[in-house]
Symmetry: C2
Subunit: 212 residues, 2 copies
DNA sequence: TTGAATTAAACAAACGTTTAATTAAATTTT
DNA sequence: AAAATTTAATTAAACGTTTGTTTAATTCAA
């Protein structure tokens, strides 16, 4: 029956979600397969049974989570009714929301960008990032060509967008201290951070790109 | 004699330098004490003998490397002959050079910001970052008060500076691909990256702060 | 009755750390 | 200055855990 198949998939996803939390909190190498099995409430051997290995589990997680970002960017690019600057504003909104609602996964991507030792995972992350970057570059190139954007270093500007968002999403403790946000409420922290990030990035990019 | 003392300290520093390379490449948890001992050419037991533990070794490394940053920032702040904008330009030059000439250490600080499990290290990194941030904030506040800088979100702007620099220093492979820099020569990569980062950040901040 | 899901137990390897013995250097005593 | 003594540096080996993965037996569902 289809319910069995569903249950099977749900269990796989459940393990991945628990692994995601642990990887984000303690790092990939700092998380043991026993940790994952215990937190997911499954037997130790099930991780090898489902995923083959700890590394393959991470690959499965990345493939699961990174799937649908590119679709949104492509759609955004296709939309002829939006001006390049509109697209940048939507891009900022989208990225900020996406990262802040997926903090654990973003954390994992970050740590793997730094220290991935498996070349499969390196390549996987690289291809995901490059595909996204390519879509963003198109928006900048279009705006520049149409004379709407001032001439800028596009690659560096993309780095500024992603880097700024990352800076305070990497460590909640640090973000709360510097931004003077209440440390205790996860929810208020996220909404406050999202608001400030969006406002700041739009103001920054507007000035940088020379939008009136 | 003093030479003996020197040799002793040199050996400690040698171990720290080798550990730094390994931590940066494979992560703290991905690096074994045997790795470090082997790369440094010392007996395994010497790491415990000198540092007490692997974690204490990391603390020693951070304390060694993070020592003198704050001094430069304080000096920069005291200098009355510089305008706030001059200070920002020097700040950018200083940070870019510092991070690019200390990529492995910066990598380690980054990964520990993400996933440090020892609260001693968490606190250590937090205090280092906060002290630096405080000095940078003073420059922005001074410029704003004097009416030289437009009113901006200071904390977010600091995040933009640090985040932009981090973005392409995290992964050389990624940086080379996006920025179209030759992957094979470490030296040209560093100088090219430093040049572009400085130019971009100054142009960006000039527009953002409303400097004519 | 067949195949998949689940389990407890075991596996060898790698881990951080400690031990006890030995060598080298520094200090004190002759 | 030489010998004796104390302290520090270095070593190989072992410690007990923990690691990721596998096995072989068992339960469950088709």
């Amino acid at each position: 029956m289809s319910t069995d198949k569903r249950e099977h998939i749900d269990k796989r996803e459940h393990i991945l979600t628990e692994a995601e939390k642990l990887f984000a909190e303690k790092g990939f190498d700092g998380t043991s397969v026993r940790d994952i099995a215990h937190n997911a409430g499954v037997n130790l051997a099930m991780i090898s049974y489902y995923f083959g290995s700890k590394e393959k589990l991470l690959e499965s997680l990345i493939e699961l989570r990174a799937g649908y970002t590119i679709g949104i960017l492509e759609e955004l690019n296709k939309d002829e009714s939006l001006s390049p600057w509109d697209k940048i504003e939507r891009l900022v909104d989208y990225y900020v929301d996406k990262i802040i609602t997926n903090l654990p996964f973003h954390n994992i991507m970050h740590q793997q960008s730094l220290n991935a030792r498996s070349s499969e995972i390196k390549d996987l992350i690289m291809s995901i990032k490059l595909r996204n970057v390519e879509q963003v570059r198109k928006i900048f190139a279009d705006g520049e060509q149409k004379g709407i954007f001032r001439k800028i270093d596009m690659e560096m500007t993309m780095g500024t967008i992603m880097g700024t968002i990352s800076q305070y999403t990497i460590s909640r403790d640090y973000g709360c201290r510097v931004l003077n946000i209440d440390r205790t409420h996860e929810e208020t922290y996220r909404t406050e951070l999202a608001l400030r990030l969006k406002a700041h990035l739009k103001q920054l990019l507007r000035a940088h790109l020379g939008i009136k």
